[in-house]
Amino acid sequence: MRGTNLKRWLLQNVGFGTALLLLAVLYISYNMMHPRGFSSAVAVQNANETAAIAFVAMAQTLPVLLGGLDLSVGAVMTLTSCIASHLVSGSPAQILLGMVLTLLSGTAFGLMNGLIVVYGRIQPIIATLATGAVAVGLALLVRPKPGGDVDGDLNWALTNSVFDFADTYGLADGGNAWWLRPIANVPVPVILVALIAILVWVPFRRSVTGRTVYAIGSAEGPAFMSGLPIHRAKIAAFTMGGFFAACGGLYLAIQTSSGNADIQQAGAYTLNSIAAVVLGGTSLLGGIGSAIGSIVGAMILRVISFYFRILDIDPLLQPLIEGVVLLVAVSFGAFRTLRVKNKLDLFR
């Protein structure tokens, strides 16, 4: 019985399963080649580099599940990081308030995206192309020049291992408490991403609204005929996207202790988020996939570039190689076409 369950799960999640396997192979061999592989320091560095793109990839997942694309996720991340660079400093209460306001601003931006798509009846890709430009414009207004002073302790605590976090704030006997031992070496960003995924994504996915998002992506007409709350689900999906992008922006601001309204960076994050979503086994046609898969996709995307630092690859060839590896990785998802029994399945 258990065996059949696992088999069914694998068949239903081929894309995600492949991605997980690919990540495991890539990451373990990276660590074996790294002079300090399998150490906390390497894990902390890798996690820091991946956190922002993981959040943005989660943000991109929801619109993709609907069958659309959100071209504003990178811009919302940039906007929220610029907002955070002004607000996240001062007393602990002020810092907390700043974080909440940052997350709220991103969520509100996502809500606006959703309202425009639903009530404006505009294709998501066009609506978010426009709102993305608005977000970058606002970011430039908020922070015309790079800078800002995010709390230095917060920067250190959230970009290190759990031990350093406890040590910085004097929690759990300065990080030496027995119950902290098992997780003392885990990077804080890993815990942050996992917490957001478990506390926000999983409940949402299990709710009626969340299931409706999948139903819309599979077949919007039948979903409507079945009486599912189409509008609510679409608005919720974009709002959640805004929230996840704001998580990415907040982390980016804390990581760099500053904000930078970098237009090119915003664009790069949007494109990379789409790549991560596809790598993670989510179908661009909608209806299949998950935000957890997108986190895995974002990790694969980053691990590929980690290799350039341990291998001797010509710097001018690196972008080419990265592109080819990415293409190969994405092609894994196309293997399902090899086992279709009926050509009509391809239109699924």
């Binding site: 790294h34 906390s40 320091a41 560095q45 922002a52 990581q255 202790s257 630092r309």
Partner: protein, 378 residues
């Protein structure tokens, strides 16, 4: 992900201990080593000294954006200089990566090289802020970080750049000198600016206007924005000539080949000109100098990477170093241009000519860089 997490936790060693004593450079008093090459920015510049480490060293270059001639030439220069007999024996391992305009990726690459035990990291920062964490880590591990070109808004690391303000002043002074020789003390000057909002563009323009204002002459300056790009600069210069007719002199921050081309196309009389260090511009000055195109050429050199590498090695050897190093401006005017020496008729127009800094022992010529093929280094 969970399995991985468990694995990394289980095998993890206590590598990054927060209780490690904070090391890093000591603030000392000057003068620094080799002041001809490592010239302090100003009299207020602080001096740093790291504990001497035995060589040879492992050095990494972490570039951000890649994709224009300047950056590609910079990377080629770095690779060529690492093979230079003067420092070859001092380098054990040399790596170059480009991270694109992605701050977390650049910070991650720097941190990764610190983790790998590299001794020095030379970088062009993608953002003037946000490096606090890697600076802290570098200091802990006695790693020397050297940002150059796009430098950081901090005085906690050693940095290398050219004085953009002085560049602007030198351009304006040259043009005024040439105009005076023609007997002109007032007139119309075309100023072609760079990328808007960039500190380099701002500082160069401030330098130009300081000198023009101080000269007391009645100068009417027409500003156009050329984005340091030949095509853009040519178009905006052509427009300016069409509208204003005739200029007495031209000062261009970049894209100078295009600016001169616009003058030629409009059959504008050849006038004194100040510009960047593009090979095409120098070719044109050499060709038309006797017709009146009396030019000066100063550039932000891709060779800055070589000086940064040299500074990093000097710091690792325990020498006293200025916190902010001002690299001498590589200047050449029309009287000094010589084919095969400071410009090359057989090299492309968009090649940046200034690569050599004799006071620093950085003597990689243009052709040597362009012949540096990908296979040579391995």
């Amino acid at each position: 992900m969970k399995a991985l997490l468990k694995l990394s936790t289980a095998v993890a060693v206590f590598a990054l201990s927060a209780h490690m004593a904070l090391a890093g450079p000591k603030a000392v008093s000057g003068p620094g080593a080799d002041p001809q090459c490592f010239k302090p920015w100003s009299n207020e510049t602080k001096f740093f000294q790291w504990d001497a480490k035995p060589g040879p060293y492992r050095i990494a270059v972490v570039n951000g954006f890649v994709g224009n001639t300047w950056r590609i030439q910079m990377i080629k220069t770095a690779k060529a200089f690492a093979e230079d007999p003067a420092i070859k024996d001092k380098i054990k391992e040399f790596k170059v990566v480009s991270t694109g305009t992605d701050a977390p990726a650049q910070l991650g690459a720097i941190e990764d090289f610190i983790n790998q035990g590299f001794d020095a990291i030379v970088t062009i920062a993608v953002s003037p802020d946000g490096f606090d964490r890697v600076i802290r880590l570098a200091d802990k591990n006695n790693v020397v970080i050297v940002p150059f070109d796009n430098v950081l808004d901090t005085d906690k690391v050693m940095q290398v750049n050219e004085d953009q303000l002085a560049m602007g002043r030198t351009w304006a002074e040259f043009v005024l000198k040439e105009l005076k020789a023609e007997g002109k003390t007032s007139g119309k000057i075309l100023e072609v600016r760079g990328l808007p909002g960039n500190s380099v563009d701002r500082d160069r323009s401030i330098g130009i206007h300081e000198v023009l204002d101080a000269s007391g002459g009645n100068w009417e300056v027409i500003q156009v924005v050329g984005n340091w790009d030949d095509g853009t600069a040519q178009k905006v210069s052509a427009d300016a000539i069409a509208v204003h007719g005739k200029f007495d002199a031209v000062i261009a921050q970049g894209g100078t080949t295009g600016v001169v081309q616009a003058l030629l196309d409009a059959e504008h009389p050849m006038v004194p000109i100040a510009g960047e260090s593009e090979n095409g511009y120098r070719k044109l000055v050499a060709k038309y100098a006797d017709k009146g195109l009396k030019g000066i050429s100063i550039g932000q050199s891709p060779g800055l990477v070589a000086i940064s590498m040299k500074a990093a090695i000097s710091a690792l050897e325990g020498n006293v170093m200025p916190q902010l190093i001002s690299v001498p401006l590589p200047v050449a005017d029309y009287t000094e241009l010589k084919d095969g020496v400071n410009y090359w008729t057989d090299l492309p127009d968009n090649f940046f000519t200034v690569n050599e800094f004799p006071p620093c022992g950085v003597n990689i010529s243009g052709p040597a860089i362009m012949s540096q093929s990908e296979a040579d280094v391995k």
